[in-house]
Subunit: 479 residues, 2 copies
């Protein structure tokens, strides 16, 4: 009852207040809830099942490239965190500190891992001796903690789930190759599975990871025109190896430092799915990642034959490896329809006594609300076809939205006017100085999202200072 009440209150429209729309959708589609632990969320079954699908698909892709999974401790001794100077400066202000074990104070404070570079380095220093021990291509699935001041479900929370890959290589070339390879895995995963188009590029020095030589990123555009960093891949060179003394004896019998990378993707991608695809009726899940792809809603389920036929259709769908379910609760069909819409289930099947008489059912697409009257035996084939169509069209709509919200700016005036009036990506030239990045951020709240791999020469001068331009950069306000 309480739940029914909750859902019938309309969610805030995204045009009116996008942030409130987002909060309404994550809560009312039953993905998460707040907890008594400030800044930490519960990921509920509907949300966690999406994460399981993300894990499954990413993990499969990782393993195809030779990645092996491991598990390292969740605690980092303070002295270990401090070994790499840039890294500790980046993370120390936002870690949670364990000071007592049981009733005793600890001799040395431990932080709860915000990321595990230092632990992997400590491990690799012990593990790696010879060129035969290389490469190491390890990954772990775990939760990490960053003591954020303001939090939002999935997008920024004090604890979140992610995977973090950490690799060690004999040469700089191999490390760079792995860094780019994993960025490509992320990009492919986002586009193929989540139907989210991404821009691949490099972060500026200002925006790169604490301790990295180079950070690569995939950036996506949310429905409100704000950017979301969706996955990053870092090349550390031999900086960490120097700090942690990770050396190997090469074939020529000389000692050399390894070259390292790390790369991560997090539960914030669930936030991205919501903000790229959702609408004012709730969530829209891309079929490939949807825990339930087809929901069968029996109409007048007490009528003779309705549940039997629903079971028959369910069985046929499962036989085609479609993730299907029957909603056999005692709610009204109308209520069930809006619940399926809120939860973003790609296809619903309406099946009542009249349909059964005519040996048919009605298939309804969540994304377009198009209806299809289909004979019972054709349901699995039609559902399969529609799931494929929905996946592709969701990607295309997201791509069109991004393209129509990407603007070129040649002058600073144009830049400022665009960012105020037309939320989206701005493509503009940059001289390469951090001063210009700082000024742009101060003036417009936009940050450099990336230096894209695909460069265009929009003009010859920096959009900010007017000096000769070095690179074309994607700019935007970001989550």
């Amino acid at each position: 009852m309480a739940k029914e009440k909750k859902l019938v209150e309309a969610i805030t429209s995204m045009e009116e207040d996008f942030a409130q729309w987002y909060t309404d959708v994550v809560l009312k589609s039953d993905l998460v809830d707040y907890t008594s632990v400030k800044g930490c969320m519960v990921i509920k079954p509907a949300g966690y099942a999406i994460w399981e699908n993300i894990q499954h698909e990413l993990d499969r892709r990782f393993k195809e490239t030779g990645v092996e999974n491991v598990y390292l401790p969740m605690f980092i001794p303070e002295s270990l965190l401090q070994k790499e100077k840039d890294h500790v400066e980046g993370f120390a202000p936002e870690v949670a500190w364990v000071t007592h074990g049981g009733l005793e104070p600890l001799q040395e404070r431990l932080c709860v891992r915000p990321t595990s570079e230092t632990l992997f380095c400590d491990f690799y220093a012990k593990e790696i001796h010879s060129h035969r021990d290389l490469p190491k291509v390890y990954n772990q699935w775990c939760s990490v903690v960053r003591w954020e001041k303001t939090t939002r479900p999935f997008l920024r929370s004090r604890e979140f789930l992610w995977q973090e890959g950490h690799t060690a290589h004999a040469t700089a070339e191999e490390a760079e190759e792995r860094t780019i390879q994993m960025l490509n895995v992320y990009a492919d995963f986002c586009e193929q599975e989540l139907a989210i188009p991404v821009i691949k590029g490099q972060k500026t020095d200002k925006e790169k990871f604490a301790g990295a030589e180079a950070t690569y990123t995939i950036e996506s555009l949310m429905h409100d025109g704000k950017a979301l960093q969706s996955g990053t891949s870092h090349n550390f060179g031999d900086g960490f190896a120097q700090a942690f003394d990770i050396q190997y004896t090469d074939k020529d019998n000389t000692l050399k430092h390894v070259h390292q990378t790390s790369w991560g993707m997090t539960t914030r991608m669930i936030g991205a799915i919501i903000m790229v695809h959702g609408d004012n009726s709730g969530l829209k899940l891309p079929p490939r990642i949807a825990p339930i792809q087809v929901m069968i809603v029996p109409i007048r389920q007490d009528a003779e034959g309705v549940m039997d036929k629903s079971q028959e259709v369910l069985k046929a769908l499962k036989g085609c490896d479609i993730r299907a379910k029957i909603d056999a609760t005692d709610k009204s069909p109308g209520w069930k329809f809006s619940e399926q819409e809120m939860r973003g289930i790609p296809i619903r099947i309406e099946l009542g006594p009249k349909d059964i008489e005519k040996n048919q059912a009605v298939l309804v697409r969540r994304d377009t609300r198009e209806k299809f009257v289909v004979s019972i035996e054709d349901i699995p084939a039609k559902a399969e076809e529609l799931l494929e169509v929905i996946q592709n069209e969701m990607f295309n709509r997201a791509l069109e939205h991004r393209n129509s919200h990407t603007y070129d700016a040649k002058t600073y005036e144009e830049f400022q006017k665009t960012i105020e009036e037309k939320p989206g990506f701005i493509r503009a030239m940059w001289c390469g100085s951090q001063e210009c990045e700082d000024k742009i951020k101060e003036d417009t709240a936009a940050t450099s999202r990336c230096i894209p791999f695909t460069q265009d020469q929009i003009s010859d001068t920096c959009v900010c200072c007017g000096k000769p331009a070095k690179k074309m950069v994607y700019w935007g306000r970001a989550y």
Copy 2:
């Protein structure tokens, strides 16, 4: 090189020093390593892959019974931990406390979850209102922390991985049913997948979980005759529901407290696999849980056709869903053989130029060292058959070992003599008083492992005090 050196040092024999044998095997079979974080381990690829298989198989069984996965925060505010009296007394002395977030002291200390009953209760109090919201059958895969003084890889470490299921039900009967159902899932999993026979039973009040009405357990016997608690399932009655005010409106419109359960299995099962099946050459993995089931070792791999034929065999094995791999490193075949044995790979295939000439290969069982000369085309079928045989025979050997190390004791003298001279389970009658449990523990270091579901009337009086006996109990020294 360094690694080769490590392996050729013989491991300590289990007859000489079982504890040292265990440590040697976990380290030399590359399952884990120690870290700079005292009491916490690295689970290396060979170890983590076993855990992934355990997760996969358990999770599949859970979901078949309607379990849904969720994720709750890793932190518990001190006030929340204190809500259930018995529970906090049981856990507070061994938790890690977070006192600072970033540079600021926290207003309230947070402990890193040792188990999540209190968080689930807090969540359920918010989620459950009506009988329609029941049952809740949730589980999470995560790591937990218990600040142990002495630790051993897999068996007792400050951080370990596990799953913890937490359910809420309308009635006491349904909660009891779920408690037993999950115990049966664990028992079936251990026997079918890990080839470890278990005794199912109930814990005495002294040994039950902090805050539980009843704790059920599966107990297994290690090679050294010590017991290992292998999985537990708790019925909380409505104790936590009272403490956390988890109530629902029933169909008759009255408010009632829910009845709850929880159940867990951990990475310590990897320790059980080692100590039940291992021998003085290292690990022996049951085929169903082995990350690599068949290792192909090419002999004279530079010789013409050897690698091609190995690839052909690999492909044929994979085609039959056998997890197979080729060891193409530049180590000697003899070295590879002992490495496969150390790592417990169930079957190795030796394949050299002379074999290829005769269109055959040699299959060697890890568990019995039996050799089979098999024609190339028969390899997949023979491997399939052998994997099945190995799985069954490993279970049978473990069962025989347990049976031959289970003793009945009618008198206290007999009990004390047996525990000193014949390590194993002792079946003996008990009056039901904690005084006798305490005395037995003090005199013999044995604890009550469980009151088994299958009872025998060994005698009429308590083995300790001689008063009338209530139950037959399994006793043993335990990990």
